[in-house]
């Protein structure tokens, strides 16, 4: 992905601004220039769901746009190693043929062939990565999010072998020198652990939507509770054909693409 520093800072700034949303809602808190933990601490109402899911409408993505990637990587201190070998990425775009190899054919329309679709961890309902992890470092929460516990991961990479979607990245080196700008409110990772998208669970706990969803100016990403028939995601897929990736594998991914 190529982006210039100006755009990157714009996105990062815009994403960082979303973090003060609770203080806008709570005027008492907003008055403090310095937030002292524990004092006047009104915990924000966490967002809850029975099954978190995402709907992606790649037709809305402008050509060459990387807003979702930039936002996610800025908020989560994702390093940029600058080479595809060590690359770490949580959300990025891939061509249609790579995302839906089973659904592609030679005469597929040009617009679809040239389209770049955002791909990320699908937070499957039946995740092979969770099944194979020897230490339960990756585990599935009751609300559907497949979590990573970076403290427990031994870096065996069986989860990377098990993931059918190539969603996971290994820190083959120390990531800290390669983080352009630290977000002090989120930890970095260390070398030797595997990482991936976490559906912004730390933001959901504070009542904020995921960074990629908020950063997308075209509203191509919708996020919500798939079990709630009146949620945005359900409304989005209700009347149109939606497709999860490699549906036949039985992993039951929770990221749905509307093509």
């Amino acid at each position: 992905m190529t982006t210039n520093r100006r755009d990157f800072l714009k996105i990062a700034g815009a994403s960082a601004l979303t973090l003060i949303t609770p203080s806008i809602l709570n005027p008492l808190w907003a008055k403090e220039t310095v937030r002292i933990p524990g004092q006047d601490f009104t915990p924000a109402k966490a967002l809850a769901a029975k099954r978190w899911a995402m709907v992606v409408e790649p037709a809305k993505c402008p050509e060459g746009c990387t807003d979702c990637t930039a936002a996610c990587h800025a908020v989560h201190n994702v390093p940029n190693f600058g080479n595809p070998k060590d690359e770490v990425k949580w959300i990025w775009t891939e061509p249609f043929a790579a995302v839906f190899p089973g659904e592609n054919h030679r005469y597929q329309g040009q617009s679809l062939q040239k389209m770049r679709l955002p791909v990320l961890c699908n937070h499957c309902e039946n995740p092979p990565c969770v099944r194979v992890c020897p230490t339960k470092a990756t585990f599935r929460r009751p609300d559907g999010i497949v979590m990573m516990d970076y403290h427990r991961c031994i870096g065996c990479r069986l989860c990377m072998a098990g993931c059918p979607y190539g969603a996971r990245s290994m820190n083959y080196r120390d990531p800290r020198p390669f983080i352009a700008r630290f977000n002090p409110d989120f930890p970095t990772r260390t070398k030797g652990v595997v990482e991936k998208c976490n559906f912004c669970e730390e933001r959901l706990a504070k009542g904020i939507m995921p960074a990629c969803v908020l950063a997308c100016k075209e509203k191509a990403l919708t996020f919500g509770d798939a079990e709630n028939s009146r949620s945005e995601v359900r409304l989005a897929i209700d009347k149109r054909f939606s497709l999860p990736r490699r549906a036949g594998l039985g992993t039951a991914p929770q990221v749905y693409y509307i093509l």
């Binding site: 310095v34 004092q39 601490f41 915990p43 585990f139 403290h151 630290f182 002090p184 989120f186 970095t188």
Partner: protein, 134 residues
Amino acid sequence: MKNKKWGLIILGLAIFVIAVTFPFWHGIGKSKPVPVLSLDTPLIAAMQNKKCVEDKAFMRANHMKMLNTWRDEAVREGHRLYTTKDGRVFEKSLTGTCIQCHSNKEQFCDRCHNYVGAKPSCFDCHVIPGEVKK
């Protein structure tokens, strides 16, 4: 006991004993002062009621266990809120709670850790706000 190798055996034993008792005789005569921790940070200075999550004695003895428990409860179980013994509520977060006030890692955390030779790997990942580079 007449044994041609007796000299070597004694030498070997002497080297072993010296090596094994190294920690005891190495620092004899020298004393290292007990570290004094600095609480001089902007947030602590601004606090009306200067109270940590728990009292000093408890924290000195238990902060490691407490942080481990917080880690498992916050990450693995999603229970992010900690209620202190006197009813205050904090977020269970090293970065988001402890380090906000104790932002002077070198004058606070490191002083005791260096003194006792503890090397916690927490700071490999958990960023310090003042240390933000670039």
